[in-house]
Amino acid sequence: MLESIVHVCLAGLSTGMFIWLVASGLTLIFGVLGVLNFAHGSFYMLGAYFCYTLLSLMGDNFWLGLLLGPICVCVVGFAVERYFLRYVYHLALPYQLLLTFAFVLLFDDLVKMIWGAGSIGSPTVPGLSGSIPILGRHFPVYSLFIIGVGPLVAIGMWALLEKTWWGRIIRAASSDREMASAIGVRVPTLFTAVFMFGAWLGAMGGGLAVPYVGLLTPGMGESIIIEAFVVAVIGGLGSLKGAFLGALIIGLLSAFGTRFIPTFDMFLTFILMAAVLLWRPQGLFGEAA
């Protein structure tokens, strides 16, 4: 019984950290730009496909693919923000959401055109494949690796936002756009940069997903984006700390749900999301506005 619970916890942790990798970029973009980005799932998908292609081009070097793939997606993110999103910040919510939704449709079909509509099996990472025994049962090494990467990304983002000059400017622009531009911050450029960084984070999630999910499919972004929404909402929209803890909760909840009440596993996730929105719209860990 104990080893079963430990394994469910580990599975939950790895799922949670994996969702966190995707939700971090979504949350950052919402926190600074105020746009809920449906296309973030597409960045995730593009990241996975770019990484896959690059790593197979360069002799199956996973790390090189992971380095270069997200940079390509960064360029895509630049185009989306600079030439489209920038012109709808002043519009009502439906227009902003649907603009990013239009990119979901576009990227889904582009991926189908370039890589085909079928799913692609992904390679394993040398050194991180296989599984090791934990308390008498086998657990995939790569999932342990993801459990390690999640907190590293969290620490990195915390350091970037709290300890650097860049982070101070980002925080200034997100708390008061007008005041920041009055003291000389080039807010539009900053927004583009933050959007690109968010896209890079989403693509990193996708790249790391290549060996984790095992299969690349053109619709892979759409399922993860809803999970990332749930996590971002539970943690409080725009709060990175909240998103990290929210991802842990959702990961563990879905792992235990799948194990013990598989029928209501998805239901539980969404009832938690609705409950948080109703009673603590600022998120479980956010401060009241």
């Binding site: 012109y87 519009l91 919510l93 509509a117 998805m266 719209p281």
Partner: protein, 325 residues
Amino acid sequence: MKRFWIYVSIALILAGLVAIGFFGGRFVVYLSMRVLILSIFALGYNLLLGRTGLLSFGHAAFYAGGAYGLGLFSIHVATNPLLGIIAGVALACMMALIIGFFCVRHTEIYFAMLTLAFGMMVFSLIWNLRDVTGGDDGLVGIVRAPISLGIATIPISKATHYYFFVLFCFLLTVALVYRIRRSPFGLVLAGVRENDRRVEFAGLSVRNYRLAAFVISGSFAGLAGTLGALLESNTNPFSAHWSHSAEPILVSLIGGIQTFAGPIVGSALFIVLREVIERFTQNWMLWFGLILLAIIMGLRGGVVGGLAQLFRSEKCPAPPSGGAR
């Protein structure tokens, strides 16, 4: 003079719709029914989006509520479609009342996320309660039994007969939505969109008006769902998925969310364009994404709004955004 041309064009469109029923081929009739059903869905939806300024990502749940309500009723209770439709719409209405009660506590992004959460709850129930809903198979074998009205029975099993029934429901929806928009109630909804605080100061409960708009639009979604289930003679669990909620939003946007005819024109364009594009390429989503981009970047009044502006002699720009304050 202008009014005269409006009447003429309405009469022509009506004649065309009737002519499709009499002379249209099987495929044209089927496609027209899908346009009409999507129009019912979008017309009701746009009462919420265009009129009240609320963006819901959960209306697919009410569509599915209608479809599964009718399906379960016709399988377990009686096959009379009219009773089935009443059961389906009643179920959708109840669901909208319960879900709406919670959702209207928020607006903007929080409202959108709440409706998404509730909609996905309904989807997960339909997906997982296999014994009741058939899980991923959906409910199959829904028959289009004749409508018995006591004094007369109307057969709808043939596609053309069913077409006229769908057309009747569509015209009923158009009339109802038109009346609602023109009524004092509809004007208050527009007031809620433009400035909810003023509506509050006028002594009206903004929350109740939002809830009423939510329930009405949910009921029309349910009606569309029942008709869709009868058309396909099965139900699809993905009709409750959030991506299906995007459909009425998209067609309203294409047609123009601030116009009455927008959702109808948008539905026709959406379904016909999809068929045409799929004839030539596999990639209709790509083209659709491009159309959507063009509308958001350049033609925010939608197709109907753009045409209206073109024909208007004095230039009077349409409000660029719904729900903006």
